[in-house]
Every structure is written in structure tokens, then in C-alpha cells.
Amino acid sequence: MEDRLSRVFAALADPIRRDMVARLAVADATVNELAEPYAVTVQAVSKHLKVLEDAGLVSRSRQAQRRPVHLEAEVFDLMTKWIERYRREAEQRYQRLDAVLAEMADEQQTQTLEEDAS
């Protein structure tokens, strides 16, 4: 099995790449535009882009002269969907645990009342 998801995780491990993804979520941008806010070379930003591209998170138009970088929202969503679904299952489990804990507290209170009465 090819480890796509790990590659996506790895791609997002770096703070600059996470920031780039956040900015691309707003609009497509060229490499130069992406490089602007960072104190790194355009070459370094290109390397980060290559990692994001290999993970399938971004793509670059072959046609346009500017070759703007585009965020592949669908790939991004698929991964976050898995994580969110897992979290939601855990939350549902823990809501049932909330109910069990409330029952336990009620029982204990009843017991204490009975002991006090006797």
C-alpha cells in the first residue's frame, strides 16, 4: 500500500508549508508571490512547493506563463475527513461515558441517602 496519507501528513509538518497551504486556500498564487513574506530564497520556497506537489496537495498549471499554484482542496478534505470522523466517533463514545458517569454519581447519591436514612 502506498503511503499517501503519511506523505500528506509529512508535507503539512512544516510551518512554512502549512502557512503556504493556508494562503493558497484563499487564492491561487505564483511562486514569487508565495515567497514574499518569508525570509527564505525563492529556491527554498520551490522546494517546499515540490513537497506539497508530491503529496498531491497542490498543483501547478502547465499552460499559463505565471504557472500559478493551486490548492487541491479535495485531497486536503479527504484527509481531514478521516481525522474528523475518527474524532467524532471518539466524541460519541465519550458522550456515552458522560451518561455512565452521571448514572454512577446518581447511584452513589442514592446509596449515601439510604445509608443516612438507616
Binding site: D3, G56, I83, R85, Y86, L101, M104
Partner: protein
Amino acid sequence: MSTTTHHETTIVANPDLPTIELVREFDAPPAAVFRAHVEPELVKKWLGPRRLEMEIDTWDARTGGEYRYVHRDEQGEYRFYGSFHEVRPGERIVQTFTWEGYPDGVSLDTMTFEDLGNGRTRLRGVSVFDSKEGRDMALSSGMEVGINEGYERLDELLSTEK
């Protein structure tokens, strides 16, 4: 919608490590949250997915003990088992976890019960897998789109870009 919006479960799937971390707070003291993890009559009320029936064969929650249980639905049975590596009352439970459908996979799960005072507890669960693939498989388990189908869809998405 949740009725306990003040402390929803948070999840961290660390990109650098094959782990999943869940954190959740409860309006009950550590001793009670711990009890709900070690007494089988209590465990089966909450641990199984809502749509499935949970049946416990063994739940011997003490250091060196073991557990085995089954979830059932119309499609079939899902069996799980593991060992209790360490059970420290009111503080910590360390156990292994395996789904029989994938016997080569095993995770080491550590649950800690942190006393927040005022009868409240923060439960932190960290699962360590033997690979990121194993972690991804666990993350995608029980989903409409399982990991294999997910990777296939991802491949499709990626190939259309080329």
C-alpha cells in the same frame, strides 16, 4: 449536536509520528472515570460504537491482565483483544490493542486520568502504532470510505492532475 460543548474531544494525529492522541474532559473525578474503564458492566455501556452490540468475553483490567470483546452488526462480527500492561488505579492504564481482522497490527494505548479538581478529570489517550500505515488504517477504520478505497480515490484525484 453535542450536549457537552464545553469539552469536546480533541484529536492530534502527529505528522512526524505514528500516533493518535485524544483528549477529553469529564465532569467526574478520576476515580469514577477510571472505574468506568475497568469494570466490564460499565465498559460495555459506552465503549462499543452506538450502532453495534458489544459483548465482552474477558475484561481483566489489572497489570498483566487481558481483554477480549466482540462488536456485532448485520454485516458480521468484529473481534478485538489485548493485554493490560499496567493498570494504576485512578491514574493510568497501558494496554495493547489488536483487531483480529488485521492480526499483524498492534497499537500500544496509554490512558492517563488527570485530576482537574472540583470533581473533574482530563482523560488523555495516546495510541502508538508500529508504522504510519498502521496509524492511517486505524484512522480510516469504520469509515464509509476505508483506507484502501481512500488511497484509490486519492490516486484517481492525483492522476487526473497529471
